[in-house]
């Protein structure tokens, strides 16, 4: 698939910002960094600026530094759904720590509630400590990659387990749902030993316990048919993704070869703002953090616009991770996104458009309908 010349801009909206010391420096950080009021403001600002989608980071284990105790990402996304009308909402759900059936039904409900703006950011990486919380072995390493592929597969199966027109509301016959248009998924994962749960309590951690899902889903097929599945390249097979996230542009070609329709690069930024250089702000934040923090891009809004314009044709989008939302987001909203729009470099999400529409991704035909059509 060739890259287009538009660049989608995504934004991470977790907490007070991507830098673990953000809550200490930012203007509003004496207030709740993790509560709903800040979330509403941040997502509204991003939507008004024409951001294509926001991601909601999450973890079942507290971060090494910074505010602990954030809210469930799906709940946050569902909360802002009725407050927005154009922006994509992409919560992180880790496949190793949530029942696939619940993942599928909650995300499908998010897609309904947002009229087709839902996505799934597939969590990756080991979750130390999750086993103790969840009372079951949690896969790690290569096993985790296999389990992730299984979970994404079955969630996608469940999203197709209702045909689009399964809700018939046939008043004449009294049938509300046509059961013939619902399908079992009958999925059995890989893995060894006892299925995940108390029965596998004796199983060593890091072991991949098998699971099965019969289906069908309890939620009808959602507006997008399949939500936009976003995952880090290398953690989910490209063919299961709609959007592969890469850490650097060097990895973009590889992710594309792996089958991902769209490739988006992560870019952590600390911008010149309020009369201070980004580099100085960054140094101050690092001083406050007390733990090593990966480097970010620092500089002015004008320079960032140049960087972003240069990404066109290399990747399909960029996910910005501002160090401090209170400080960096206003600069993005006021100076960066308008300049990109003037340059016709970014799409303008329209009210009523689904996230797939905005991203230029087709709505997948339901596999059961597609199969019937080829018989």
């Amino acid at each position: 698939m060739s890259t287009s010349s538009v660049l989608h801009v995504g934004l991470e909206v977790d907490g007070a910002g991507a830098h673990p010391a953000a809550w200490r420096a930012a203007a509003r950080s004496s207030s709740d960094a993790l509560g709903p009021a800040r979330l509403r403001d941040v997502v509204a600002a991003a939507e008004n600026a024409g951001v294509t989608f926001v991601t909601f980071d999450d973890s079942l284990v507290p971060p090494a530094a910074g505010p602990a105790g954030r809210l469930d990402a799906v709940t946050r996304a569902a909360y802002v759904a009725p407050l927005t009308s154009r922006i994509g909402l992409v919560p992180l759900v880790h496949p190793a720590v949530t029942e696939p059936f619940h993942v599928a039904s909650q995300l499908a409900a998010l897609d309904h509630a947002s009229l087709g703006r839902g996505g799934w950011f597939v969590g990756a990486g080991d979750v130390p400590g999750a086993r103790r919380a969840l009372d079951r072995p949690v896969a790690a390493g290569a096993d985790l990659l296999d389990e992730t592929a299984d979970v994404v597969t079955v969630v996608r199966d469940l999203w197709d387990s209702w045909e689009d027109d399964a809700v018939v509301r046939d008043s004449a016959t009294g049938r509300y749902v046509d059961r013939d248009r619902l399908h079992y998924v009958d999925f059995a994962s890989g893995g060894e030993g006892l299925p995940a749960g108390p029965s596998s309590r004796g199983t060593a951690d890091g072991v991949r316990a098998p699971f099965t899902v019969k289906g069908p889903s309890i939620v009808p097929r959602s507006p997008q048919g399949q939500l936009v599945v976003v995952g880090r390249a290398g953690t989910v097979p490209g063919g299961l993704l709609d959007v592969a996230l890469v850490a650097t542009t060097d990895a973009a070609a590889r992710a594309r070869e792996d089958g991902a329709p769209l490739v988006v690069v992560d870019l952590a930024v600390t911008l010149d703002a309020a009369g201070r250089l980004g580099a100085d702000r960054r140094a101050e934040l690092d001083g406050l953090a007390g733990v090593p923090v990966p480097a970010t891009w620092t500089g002015s809004a004008v320079d960032l616009v140049d960087v972003l314009l240069g990404l066109r044709g290399v990747v399909d989008g960029v996910r910005l991770l501002p160090s401090e939302l209170d400080v960096d987001l206003p600069v993005l909203v006021r100076d960066v996104l308008p300049a990109l729009r003037v340059a016709r470099a970014v799409p303008t999400p329209r009210p009523g458009a689904t996230l797939r529409d905005t991203l230029g991704l087709p709505r997948p035909t339901n596999r059961h309908v597609a199969a019937a059509a080829t018989v």
């Binding site: 103790r132 809700v167 059961r179 108390p198 289906g215 309890i218």
Partner: protein, 436 residues
């Protein structure tokens, strides 16, 4: 306001509780439409109702699909979206303890309480349909005893996880770089034959401390769970003397657990058909009844009773029900009692079930409905009601416009809101009230 106050919840649907409601409604009911859910939630809020209950019944979509099955939006997502669309109404969701672990449930409910500013409630259900486990690699529904044992365990683990965050644990001290005071967050160590949960819930203490706990299982095991943990007991009762008995039974069980009986509310479900005259209400009810599909109604009845009634002719008498069922025990008992009391045949009982699934059915003018509710309330058969209009959205609008003022005039229903959180609005005792 000195009289004992009535608490009201909306038994939330977008299409009404009667099995045939969607066939007569003036609105094309779309259970996936958030806009229709928002309209219903706002109507309930405008009527000063205390909460709405979003149900979820795992296994309804199995094969054969549960008769009358209409899909729902998953409650955790629906209620979070409604939190943003409403300001005051309590947001209660059914979540099954049989197919979710305490950690995830506790986290999502705490998150709902946060985004709603303290309006979350959890209707603790155990699932009763045979196919409930189809999504979870569990081919058989665990038996009744096992389900309730697990329910106790999940609730207790969740309570421990919520309680582990002290009220002032989030300090946000910028100078000392302390967002959370580690001395005020405790590790939970919960070990049982079902779960071993060790750790800290990654969601700080929510505005209510924990969601208000609702429970709707009416079997002996269900009532035991309610007596120990519930703030609100939802029941299904269609006969005043029985409802009075159950009410007393619940309060006695609560007292037996060392809790204050006045601090636990008993709310029966009630299905309403309200007309401008009695005959008009009866017409609507008759029209609904005409639309009932007898085969579907029979399958629905069989599902609740837990045994297959399909071979019996319409006029067959209702046989003595088996003493126990692995399904919905209390409801099966209630329907059987109803059939015996009113001399209903199996076909007639199926029609009643299509209309009410066992709940009290009130058909009449607003005054008729208000009088009946007032009588049940005054007679100590109820602390309030879970109001399920037979047809939506008109039924809820009518209840709010015509019945609520009559209850207010009688001095038993609030005319303004006091308190912010659901717990405060329901006038439940504050958390931390000593327990055995």
């Amino acid at each position: 306001m000195s009289a004992r106050q009535m608490r009201l919840g909306a038994y939330h649907t977008v299409s009404g509780h009667h099995a045939a409601a969607w066939r007569v409604s003036t609105q094309v009911n779309d259970t996936e439409s958030l806009a229709q859910h928002q309209a219903a939630a706002r109507a309930a809020q405008d009527g000063l109702l205390h909460f709405l209950l979003a149900t979820d019944v795992l296994g309804e979509q199995g094969d054969p699909v549960s008769p009358g099955f209409q899909p729902r939006l998953e409650p955790a997502v629906l209620l979070a979206a409604l939190a943003a669309s409403t300001e005051h109404i309590g947001l209660v969701g059914s979540f099954s303890t049989t197919f979710s672990g305490p950690f995830q449930l506790a986290r999502q409910l705490s998150s709902l309480d946060h985004v709603s500013g303290g309006r979350a409630g959890w209707n603790v259900v155990t699932s009763f349909r045979a196919g409930a486990g189809d999504g979870f690699g569990s081919s058989d529904l665990p038996d009744h005893v096992e389900r309730y044992a697990k329910a106790h365990d999940v609730v207790e683990a969740a309570l421990a996880l919520w309680d582990a965050w002290e009220p002032d644990a989030v300090v946000r001290d910028r100078r000392t770089a302390t967002y959370v005071d580690p001395d005020r967050v405790h590790r939970t160590e919960h070990t049982s034959r079902f779960h071993e949960v060790r750790g800290v819930l990654p969601a700080s203490r929510s505005p209510q401390g924990r969601p208000v706990l609702f429970q709707g299982g009416g079997s002996d095991a269900g009532l035991a769970l309610a007596a120990r943990h519930a703030d609100v007991v939802l029941t299904s009762q269609d006969h005043l003397p029985d409802a009075r008995r159950l009410y007393r039974d619940v309060k006695e069980r609560v007292a037996h657990e060392g809790r204050d009986p006045d601090g636990v509310l008993v709310l029966p479900g009630v299905i309403t058909v309200i007309g401008s005259s009695r005959s008009q209400a009866q017409d609507v009810h008759d029209r609904l009844l005409e639309q009932v599909d007898d085969d579907q109604a029979r399958r629905r009845l069989s599902g609740i009773l837990g045994w297959d009634t399909s071979a019996l002719p319409y006029d067959a008498p209702v046989e003595p029900a088996p003493a126990t069922t692995e399904g919905n025990r209390a409801r099966a008992r209630l329907l059987h009692a109803r059939a015996v009391r009113d001399g209903l045949s199996i076909g007639q009982l199926a029609r009643v079930t299509a209309a009410t699934r066992g709940h009290l059915l009130l058909v009449g003018t607003a005054q008729d409905v208000a009088d009946e509710l007032l009588a049940w309330h005054a007679d100590e058969a109820a602390d309030g009601f879970l109001v399920g209009p037979a047809v939506m959205p008109s039924g809820l609008r009518r209840f709010v416009r015509d019945v609520v003022p009559l209850l207010q005039r009688a001095g038993v229903f609030r005319t303004s809101r006091e308190g912010r959180t659901l717990r405060e609005q329901l006038a439940l005792p504050p958390l931390g009230t000593p327990r055995p």
